[in-house]
Symmetry: C2
């Protein structure tokens, strides 16, 4: 079986050279031993596949995905240990590293929602009774703390004001007053659109408490916000498939530093989850990456094909990752400026902490969700309401990640802005 | 938003009456308040979608799936709280009940592999220090026991001989000697093709220890073996999307009796998992079934569309569920008889305990995996090797579930048998 796998991999290389852009120079790909898989989705029938007409989905995830990705999700059933599938999985692992600019961190790709990433952190990296510090900037900070406590961590939280972030000085003070096994923060809190300073937080932790692990809940930021895993000194970045990574939901994606893996390996107590246990998953990820199959649980084969297809687009030469981040910033600025000109105020307390992949806006005085969101939906533009118990009826959220942000020819951003203008004018006219 | 949902649901009813077969009389569907969703996949472009040519996948899961199911998996991105998606999820919950012939058991549909079902049982139904009895008929019994211990259960195992089942008398004796919170068994052990007597086990437990919960690991049996959840008195049936249910992998499907839910609700200690916690998921399932959205983690939207599409085929009028089980038995008998005529011996120790959705066969004397499996693959027939540490090179497994078993026009069973004959002849000729 192995020999046959090798033959296919060589075939993959031949196809790759002729049809797929080479990896970028920032890639960890050069150091890997296996070339990327064949362009399985560029098949003879792909050209006839176009996704159904539908309303434009501009919520902060799931996001619009390309026909290529959806077609890969409709791949015929394959054995999870097939020599055709193994390199598709292995390449998805390798390309995940590229997106985060890391050379040797360990990705975990597991069937599950993004939430499963919290369980992975709580069950593998913290032992019962150990301290964890949660930098809480919204709904998802509350939940991560809840998850950590479920597995026995003793959790302290520093709560940011609604729409704000936790000052680095407070993090430093907390780390100097107590020993923490890890610090978590929400890179972009999907509930508020607040962007935390991942680099600054990592630097602060590294300086104040070098042994403390730095864990980024980056569900709503990977591939839409720049993340330099190695350069910034992160230990865990956890995310999901359905946001910046442009894939249907159902895949929990987590990347752990070798330092985090060592922490896991030197646990004194056994891991307290079965499905989220790295004891089970680490050998599986290592096997697939090295070109072999291994079994713990059946991987979500079709979704891995889809994720691979999306990663190929994201890590392809045009646009480069850097350009991709710039395009996200530009689309974000367009939405935010137009919204402000229309009289919407942003939820984040300062422009410097507003996410680039989404925009959270207060409804103007006198207007509420019911005045705007159904009207936008009638114009085939689906945005999201609020998601924070105290304020959820007072603001709404627009997502601008992935193809909607980077492919201006689609006109998604234009459509969002035009619909927002019209719906606002209609709502005001009704109230007048 | 709710009002809009109602409008869409009414539209769904109108379409349903004209285009979709009525539910079967065994269905729990009559008692539900919402009609099934519109035939979303019977769209204008569906007719042009055909999955890529590929090798016939006849392993015991993932299995071959229909074009309709794959097309649903390629559904455009949708909000997980969209009024269009809510009834798709709700109907998937209702149709899951139909497949198991239950009126009021509670389905859980969660992004994850089948393995996650074990975590759900271990984390929600057993409290640390409580006793669990595992009827172990192979690889998956070992793993379920491992999972239960991870969450603190005190596990006893009754191990069946390889290829056999645990006698009911031994179960009865164990239950009389000790109080068990639950008994688990593997309905069809994918590693051996052994079918346990679910009805007999449930009756034995009910009689010997009425309070003990009966948990069926039915990953490799739901929709290919008859399961009468209510009539047999089962408490948990856990499965996954990629076997008899004919959907790509990535969905953990579990159905719990109201008695199991009560056991969960009267726990003394908190649930020891976050992602697998019914405290989190029960309100979500109840919300979607009643036509409302709720959020804990983003559901695998596309996979729910695909699962819904497959369930519509499975619970449709033709073939009925009863006919579907009969067709599985017939396809199974064809494979088993032809294989025996060719000189293959079945792994299950007695024909009465051989699964109907798969066949496990010892290689004939003098032949091994390398002599047959690559040759079958060359004929575009993908079967599975052994999966049990002591014997894995000595036997192989053929899956015949879902469309391969019930749609004779596809010719899948013919193709498997023909390839097996040819490959065996070639292998014998080489050895001669």
């Amino acid at each position: 079986m192995l020999r046959r796998a090798s033959v296919r991999v060589c075939l993959g290389r031949a196809l790759r050279l002729s049809s797929i852009p080479p990896p970028t120079s920032t890639s960890s790909y050069h150091s890997s031993h296996l070339p990327r898989t064949t362009a399985f989705f560029l098949s003879r029938t792909m050209s006839t596949f176009h996704q159904e007409p539908h309303k434009l989905l501009v919520i902060p995830g799931p996001i619009e995905v390309t026909d290529e990705v959806l077609y890969a999700n409709a791949h015929p059933s394959m054995s999870h240990i097939s020599p055709d599938f193994i390199p598709v999985f292995g390449d998805a692992i390798r390309m995940t590293r590229e997106v985060l600019f890391t050379q040797d961190a360990q990705p975990f790709l597991i069937a599950g929602s993004g939430t499963l990433g919290w369980d992975q952190v709580a069950a593998n990296l913290v032992e019962p009774g150990e301290n964890a510090l949660v930098l809480n900037s919204g709904y998802f900070g509350d939940s991560f703390a809840d998850c950590l406590r479920t597995y026995g961590a003793v959790v302290d939280e520093i709560k940011a004001p609604f729409g704000g972030t936790v000052p680095l000085s407070e993090i430093e003070a907390a780390l100097k007053s107590k020993k923490y096994k890890l610090v978590t923060f929400t890179h972009v809190d999907t509930s508020t659109g607040v962007l935390s300073d991942a680099r600054g937080i990592a630097a602060t932790v590294r300086s104040a408490s070098p042994d403390t692990l730095v864990v980024a809940d980056a569900v709503c930021s990977v591939a839409s916000e720049e993340i330099r895993f190695d350069a910034w000194g992160l230990d865990v970045v956890l995310t999901a498939s359905q946001k910046g990574l442009g894939t249907p939901p159902g895949l929990s994606i987590l990347v752990a530093s070798q330092r985090a893996i060592k922490t896991f390996e030197s646990r004194k107590s056994p891991v307290t989850s079965y499905y989220a246990s790295w004891t089970k998953w680490l050998p599986i990820m290592q096997a697939y990456e090295s070109g072999n199959a291994a079994y713990f649980a059946t991987p979500p084969v079709n979704l891995i094909y889809a994720y691979n297809a999306s990663l190929r687009q994201i890590t392809g030469a045009t646009p480069s990752l850097e350009e991709r981040f710039r395009l996200h910033r530009e689309s974000s600025q367009r939405v935010k400026k137009e919204a402000e000109q229309l009289g919407f105020k942003q939820l984040p307390l300062d422009p410097s902490i507003a996410a680039n992949g989404m925009t959270a806006l207060w409804f103007p005085e006198g207007l509420a969700a019911a005045d705007l969101l159904p009207s936008l939906a009638k114009k085939d533009v689906v945005v999201a309401g609020g998601l924070h118990k105290d304020y959820k009826l007072k603001y709404f959220r627009i997502g601008h990640m992935g193809v909607s942000a980077i492919d201006s020819q689609r006109g998604d951003i234009d459509k969002v802005i035009a619909a927002l203008k019209e719906s606002l004018a209609e709502a005001k006219a009704k109230k007048a």
